[in-house]
Subunit: 154 residues, 2 copies
């Protein structure tokens, strides 16, 4: 298989995984710190989805680190197929969660004016968690595309 | 380039394009028929995104029909690159719009109980339009994957 930026078992791949993990974990922590987030399905789903993303990315980051240390090649067809499935599932779920949370934040802020009417609603915290989720998705989507490309062009 | 179900200029490709167009157009019509949809950013975005999806799919359906009639081959690298970019842009926008509208519908129905409190809010119509948008995205995502596969494995 070809060498591509972001391939499994490379330094760029490790950096990509660590970025996904960092932003997903930040999103979970920020959202979980917000008051009353549990009243809204979209925000609970964001936590669930970002939790899954963080676990998956951390697992693959450990695998990348292990492969780099022992100089193993992770680009076999079976492993890449596994990574493709996992990456696509987590990245589609992350994108859906980010868009859902974003839609609810926009509704609160611009359509229903909940943020200006209720000063106790932590709109800034919701926005920050959603922004982190979008960043995590951007890195996760990049990984998914790289894996798909590796699978399609062996 | 290889022959793949859903390739441009094939009968399966034409069927895929017509399905995308039909569900996107249905979503636009249903949402536009709902009272007060314009008060909500997510629903306006759904109309814009599904409108773009319908136009793009109709254009490619016409191109597929033309290629089938004159027995032309549309699977050149330049054309497939164009289709990949267009398909990915429309399908990411469609998915974002579907998820956003879905999040707002769930918020109205389950979290804030707007649907049971305000009988004039056309929640059923919002739900139907969102369901059509998800169906249109499912076909559009399939097209995008097929095109990407064709581009990656010439």
């Amino acid at each position: 298989m070809r060498e591509l930026a972001g391939s499994p078992g490379s330094w760029s791949g490790l950096a990509l995984r660590l970025s996904q993990f960092a932003f997903a974990a930040a999103s979970v922590c920020v959202m979980a710190s917000a008051r009353d987030f549990a009243n809204y399905t979209a925000f609970c789903y964001l936590i669930a989805s970002m939790g899954l993303q963080a676990l998956w990315s951390l697992g693959l980051a450990c695998l990348d680190g292990y492969a780099l240390k022992l100089e193993k090649d992770l680009r076999s067809a079976v492993l890449v197929s596994l990574f493709v499935v996992g990456d696509w599932v987590t990245s589609i779920l992350s994108f859906a969660a980010s868009c859902s949370a974003g839609a609810v934040v926009v509704l609160f802020d611009r359509d229903a004016f909940f943020c200006s009417r209720d000063p106790h609603l932590p709109c800034g915290t919701f926005e920050l968690a959603t922004a982190f989720a979008f960043l995590s998705w951007a890195f996760s989507g990049t990984s998914a595309l790289v894996m798909f490309w590796l699978l399609a062009s062996p």
